[in-house]
Amino acid sequence: MTAVAGAPPEAPAPAPRKRPPGRRGRLVPYWLLLPGILWLLVFFVMPMVYQASTSVQTGSLEEGFEVTWHFRTYWDAVADYWPQFLRSVLYAGSATVLCLLLGYPLAYLIAFRAGRWRNVLLVLVIAPFFTSFLIRTLAWKTILADSGPVVGALGALHVLDVTSWLGMTAGDRVLATPLAVVCGLTYNFLPFMILPLYTSLERIDGRLHEAAGDLYATPSETFRKVTFPLSMPGVVSGTLLTFIPASGDYVNADLLGSTDTRMIGNVVQTQFLRILDYPTAAALSFLLMAAILVMVTFYIRRSGTEDLV
């Protein structure tokens, strides 16, 4: 409060040509913000209000829906679909960890070692976006086909025995199992991890590495004490950009999974389009949003990163 109470010094006497901004001038920032504010109002606030309302309605499409403040919908949604919630967090979390493990070395390579290949590699990271999400996911069905080389190799190396024991695959197949869904999520969201990581790694001053070397730091110490801490903003924003959309995804679970891999996105889709139970679908969406918000807030607090990207 002291900062506020200590009144800002009187503005210096205005230079003769510069008049203090008039009423119109003071409104300029708001006018400039207007398109953005309108956009948020129409495409964010209004749908949210509408959705909030839908979640406490009861009725059917034929008889219409009315707001009856039926908050029980939320409770029922959790009671019925908590396994899918848990699964979403689990799959999205695994995919995020995998993305980090795969993406970090790649981003490091592109930022520090790629030399003149840097731009080519960056384009290659983004290139998959040139084809449709759906087509790319369907391609994984060919890659992981039961009689395909990948599954054959994994089987011969007894990797599938281990994953089956862990409950991630079923027998000698990968498709229609949790592993396939996590693989699909990892693949589809990998670029969202690599790009922020690359941006924050690329910003690190190379002389810091030299300095660390001059102070007798081994390469691994340099990484642990210099590079990794400095890349934290990239790690945090990368994990957020991966985890948040992955936990709401339903395409991967639909195409690569089976009945026991359905995520919360699938439930919302089924409730909304097939069963036409709009209140439950809206309540589930809100619950997902709240869960993600809580987890992300906790995560950002823990990692204490202020400047994301």
Partner: protein, 414 residues
């Protein structure tokens, strides 16, 4: 920033801070109090809005008057599923539609914008519920959705006097569905048979003749597919259990779900699929599955390992139906187009291309002229024995539909 004393910012940033709407140093003033009060009012208003939001009953729009502009405007907007119309060799023009335009002078704006019944319903629902024009004069949707649209009063009654060919040539097996007796609102575009398809190589000598084989044979564990369409999967299971999908009780439904649930729990059923079973089947990831006959004709042509079997207990039949939505501007033109596709010539041309069951009687000779094999294919022109084994799923009330879809969704995992 540390070089500045915190409460004595230099003039420029201080001025900026005062101007900036986001970081301006607002002490507690009358204005901010007012602002807070405004916020409170807004929050209260939001609560009010919440309760005002509701969705009106569907039936509100029944009897919406529709002006027919067919005479002044010689055109029609026709929305159909992808790959559901004949194309020429250049894959640009649709010969049957072109012939229709040449004959009648009615220009057809043909759009392939339907991919999925539930998704398409979500798309046209807002306009139809509000009693507005969807911009479409003719749409094609599957039985259950057609039944729902008719039940809600969202489609127009057809004028039989504009449909002489359709009235005369519609196959007997499609004439009186319980959701539209006598076809007052709808005419089938194609019939869809649900049969069992298999991959000979993947089966490796295992014989599949019935749904029981799919559900019980341990050699097929994890390599059996069912359809994510509730009516197809449950209907075929009901038939296998000796029940009639056209007349069953809640208990029968539950028994069928339980039977499938057992197969899901033991891992017999690999997954419930939409159209994407086709690639799984031709690759051999699925050894056998429920399949739509039109796809099977295509799959058989592409890979010789794929074949089909019609269970002795019967098979499910549904139709994709032509409907004229409320407020469509060109109803008469739409009826003329429907009637045109019930003439044997155009019907045969269409059937030869799209490989689904042709709902038109008397096309055999015409079809044989174009494609001898297609005319003899029971999946395109069902013979009497085949037609006798077909069953349709009975229509459901809104309440039943919700309850059944919910049970089926639990079965499929969500």
């Amino acid at each position: 920033m540390e070089q500045y004393e915190p409460d004595r910012p230099p003039p420029a940033p201080a001025a900026a801070a005062r101007r900036s709407p986001a970081t301006g140093r607002a002490s507690l003033t009358r204005r901010s109090l007012l602002r807070a009060a405004g916020g409170g009012t807004l929050a209260l208003g939001a609560l009010g809005t919440l309760s005002a939001c509701g969705i009106p009953p569907a039936k509100n729009t029944a009897g919406v008057p529709s002006d027919d502009h067919s005479d002044e405007e010689k055109r029609i907007a026709f929305s159909n599923w992808t790959e559901y119309m004949d194309v020429d060799d250049g894959e640009k023009r649709h010969p049957t539609l072109d012939a229709f335009t040449r004959r009648t002078g009615i220009r057809v704006e043909y759009t392939e914008d339907i991919n999925d019944n539930v998704e398409f319903f979500g798309r046209i629902k807002p306009q139809l519920a509000a009693g507005q024009d969807t911009g479409r004069d003719l749409i094609v949707v599957t039985d259950w959705l057609a039944a729902r649209l008719i039940r809600f009063g969202w489609v127009q009654k057809l004028d039989a006097s504009n449909l002489p060919h359709a009235y005369a040539n519609l196959s007997a097996q499609f004439r009186t569905p319980d959701w539209d007796p006598g076809r007052a609102y709808s005419y089938p575009w194609t019939g869809i048979s649900t049969v069992i398809a298999y991959n000979k190589k993947a089966l490796d000598g295992v014989e599949v003749r019935s749904v029981s084989d799919l559900l019980d044979n341990p050699k097929l564990k994890g390599r059996v597919g069912f359809l994510s369409e509730m009516r197809d999967s449950i209907g075929m299971t009901l038939l296998d259990m000796g029940k009639d999908p056209a007349d069953f009780s809640d208990d029968d439904f539950d028994a069928a779900v339980a039977r499938l649930q057992k197969a899901v729990d033991t891992g017999q059923i690999r997954r419930f699929t939409g159209n994407d079973y086709t690639s799984d089947l031709s690759r051999g990831d699925l050894a056998a599955c429920l399949a739509w006959a039109g796809d099977v004709v295509q799959l058989k042509a592409d890979s010789p390992e794929v074949d089909f079997v019609v269970p002795d207990s019967g098979y499910m039949t549904s139709t994709d139906n032509l409907l004229v939505p409320n407020r469509a501007r060109h109803k008469t033109n739409a009826e003329r187009l429907i009637d045109y596709y019930y003439e044997p010539g155009p019907a045969a041309q269409l059937a030869a291309y799209i490989n689904y069951v042709c709902p038109v009687d008397g096309v055999r000779t015409e079809l044989a002229k174009i494609d001898e094999a297609a005319a003899d294919n029971p999946l395109i022109l069902p013979d009497e024995a085949m037609a006798a084994r077909s069953r349709a799923f009975r229509s459901l009330s809104t309440k039943e539909e919700t309850a059944y879809e919910e049970k089926f969704a639990k079965l499929t995992g969500a």
